[in-house]
């Protein structure tokens, strides 16, 4: 059969295996007594070649004991209700199934791997497809449910002889169903909420820990930079790069180093310009954006022009920083790129500068926008770009 108890007993007593099996089956069918004895024997007799019994292993399994007690008490409750409703043979059958169920739960959790494999094979039809790696808990649940169902059916079948007595059972079943229907979703929700809360807490802790770690590493970098200030350009770009990464990670929730490459909003695009220009030209870009909206082809063109202006300031102005300011208003988006570099005389523009102004102008004009370049020698340059917003995208995307 299942646990090899009959075979083991036959070895010990010298009786035939088949005789013992028959005895078990007959006593099980008559009163359930045989099943209980079988399970108890399975629990307390050591298997061939093993020194410890399942029962001794089960002593350390508090969860298993709890589960066994729960399953047994549940079954006992059902039987008790049956007894209270005066359903015939209950008195004689009550304790062996309870013992058997509790014992089976313990066996399930504490049997040796071989035996668990046997159990799994036995319960396979119940579980349907038991793929490898199926959590054993589910199997346990289904087994218990199946046994309870079986017990219920047996009771019902017995009572079928007396139709009048079927009614109380139906009532009890309906009450159970009502309780489950009423409280089931609530239990589920509590369980789910608990899990979500725990996950959120774990995440928050993880984040706080990481934040402090990054903070420390950045501080150390800064100390190092102070001591090795002989290559200012590189020191600045290094410091800026790590600062930027840290900021976007701490305040925007993006992992360091995840430069998405493609922005979908205006402020994202401004940040991207900041990152690229700082990385490629070793200059500080103070990027500030007010308001936000989704990008469309017009605004992408605006950003491309802003990028060109920023790169130009980085290349030619000689200033150590560039201010990049973008503002989204209901009917227009403006971007200002300003440096305090050497500037130039607009009337005597060198060819490369003229190139900038013209290409930026052309870019903006093609899309219905405008660009102005103001520059004073010795004081710096400011490029102002404005793009009107079309009616279709007038509602701000950040509306509360």
């Amino acid at each position: 059969m299942a646990g090899g108890v009959a075979a083991g007993l036959s070895v010990r007593t010298g009786m035939g295996v088949n005789a013992i099996r028959t005895a078990f089956v007959i006593t099980s069918l008559i009163s359930g007594f045989g099943a209980a004895v079988y399970v108890l024997a399975w629990l307390f007799l050591p298997a061939d070649g093993e020194s410890s019994t399942i029962a001794s292993r089960a002593q350390g399994d508090k969860r298993g004991i709890g589960l066994a007690a729960a399953a047994a008490s549940l079954l006992a409750l059902v039987l008790l209700i049956g007894a209270l409703l005066h359903i015939g043979w209950i008195g004689s059958l009550s304790w062996p199934p309870v013992v058997a169920v509790a014992g089976l739960v313990l066996i399930w959790r504490n049997a040796s791997p071989d035996e668990q494999a046997v159990l799994r094979r036995l319960s396979e039809p119940l579980l349907g497809d038991t793929a490898a790696g199926q959590p054993p808990r589910r199997g346990l649940r289904i087994t218990i449910a199946a046994m309870l169902l079986l017990a219920g059916l047996v009771i019902l079948l017995y009572q079928h002889l007396n139709r009048l007595d079927l009614w109380p059972i139906t009532g009890v079943a309906l009450m159970f169903a009502a309780i489950v229907v009423l409280l089931g979703p609530w239990w589920l929700r509590i369980a789910r909420d608990l899990m979500a809360e725990r996950q959120a807490r774990v995440r928050a802790e993880e984040r706080a820990e990481m934040a402090s770690r990054v903070h420390d590493s950045v501080l150390q970098t800064l100390a190092l930079i102070q001591r090795r200030a002989d290559d200012p350009q590189q020191v600045i770009s290094l410091a800026r790069a790590s600062e930027r990464e840290l900021r976007s990670w701490l305040f925007d929730g993006r992992a360091p180093g995840s430069l998405d490459g493609l922005a979908t909003t205006l402020s994202g695009g401004v940040r991207l310009i900041q990152q690229e220009v700082e990385a490629q030209h070793g200059i500080v870009v103070e990027a500030i954006s007010v308001g936000d909206c989704d990008l469309d082809p017009d605004l992408s063109a605006l950003l491309a022009a802003a990028r060109e202006a920023t790169v130009n300031a980085a290349k030619w102005s000689g200033a150590s920083s560039v201010a990049l300011f973008a503002e989204v208003e209901p009917d227009a988006v403006s971007v200002f790129v300003r440096d305090r570099g050497r500037g130039f005389d607009p009337d005597a523009v060198p060819r490369d500068r003229k190139g900038l102004a013209e290409s930026v102008h052309a870019r903006m004009a093609r899309r219905g926008g405008s660009a102005t370049v103001r520059s004073t020698p010795g004081q710096g340059t400011e490029v102002a770009l404005t793009m009107p917003r079309t009616a279709g995208q007038r509602e701000p995307s950040t509306a509360p």
């Binding site: 305040f251 308001g291 300011f325 509306a399």
Partner: protein, 219 residues
């Protein structure tokens, strides 16, 4: 401007940064003390009574705004200039609303910092480009037309067009002098606009600004 060297108290939890600021300030100001946390800062400032406190927004024992609100109760003449490496808008707004006269980022140059200290000591407000951007954003998202809870005094919930112009120019990297030239007003008028914005920031309904800051953080 240089009638007298203002006395300065530095509050920052990083010793490295405190000594860096000290050496940058040199003897243009008189550094009278420093502290590394909320409690030592409160006792130290109460003892030294400096003109200006350079205050880190983030401190281990609480926010910098705790220091501001505690000190302004007993020593209203002490002025605060918030100094932060953080860009989290709610932090900045919190310290400004508790009564700081200005906010600058820690990447500010030594000369600019000295200038900011002198201006705060003289009772002016100092906005970094970034703070100007924050404020524009905060008041833009509390614009009329959207359904928001008005304050007792609706004027506090909006910036005048002139104030918006000034803030825009600050955000674009202009100095007060350059802004004055741009808008054909005196630098003193620019300063009074900024002070007025500061007052609105401190008095406007908490509801909208905190909600704005919360939303901003989520983005």
């Amino acid at each position: 401007m240089s009638e007298r060297r203002p006395s300065v108290f530095i509050v920052d939890d990083h010793g490295l940064f405190r000594s860096g600021v000290r050496s940058e300030l040199g003897d243009q100001v008189e550094v009278v003390g420093e502290a590394d946390d909320v409690q030592p800062a409160i006792t130290g400032i109460a003892r030294c009574e400096p003109d200006v406190v350079l205050l880190d927004v983030h401190l281990p024992g609480g926010g910098g705004h705790d220091v501001v609100s505690e000190i302004t109760k007993s020593h209203p003449q002490v002025r605060f200039l918030a100094l932060s490496a953080s860009d989290a808008p709610e932090d900045v707004i919190a310290v400004i609303r508790s009564g700081a006269r200005g906010y600058v980022t820690k990447t500010i140059s030594g000369a600019e910092l000295v200038d900011a200290i002198f201006r705060v000591a003289a009772g002016d407000a100092v906005f970094s480009p970034r703070l100007a951007g924050f404020v524009l954003d905060a008041f833009a998202s509390a614009q009329p037309g959207q359904l928001v809870q008005p304050s007792f005094d609706p004027e506090l919930d909006q910036l005048t067009p002139r104030e918006r112009d000034v803030l825009r120019l600050i955000a674009r990297g202009y100095t007060y002098k350059e802004i004055g030239r741009e808008l054909f007003i005196s630098a003193k008028t620019v300063e009074s606009h900024v002070s007025s914005v500061l007052r609105k920031l401190q008095l406007s309904t908490r509801h909208q600004l905190t909600r704005w800051a919360a939303e901003r953080r989520l983005n």
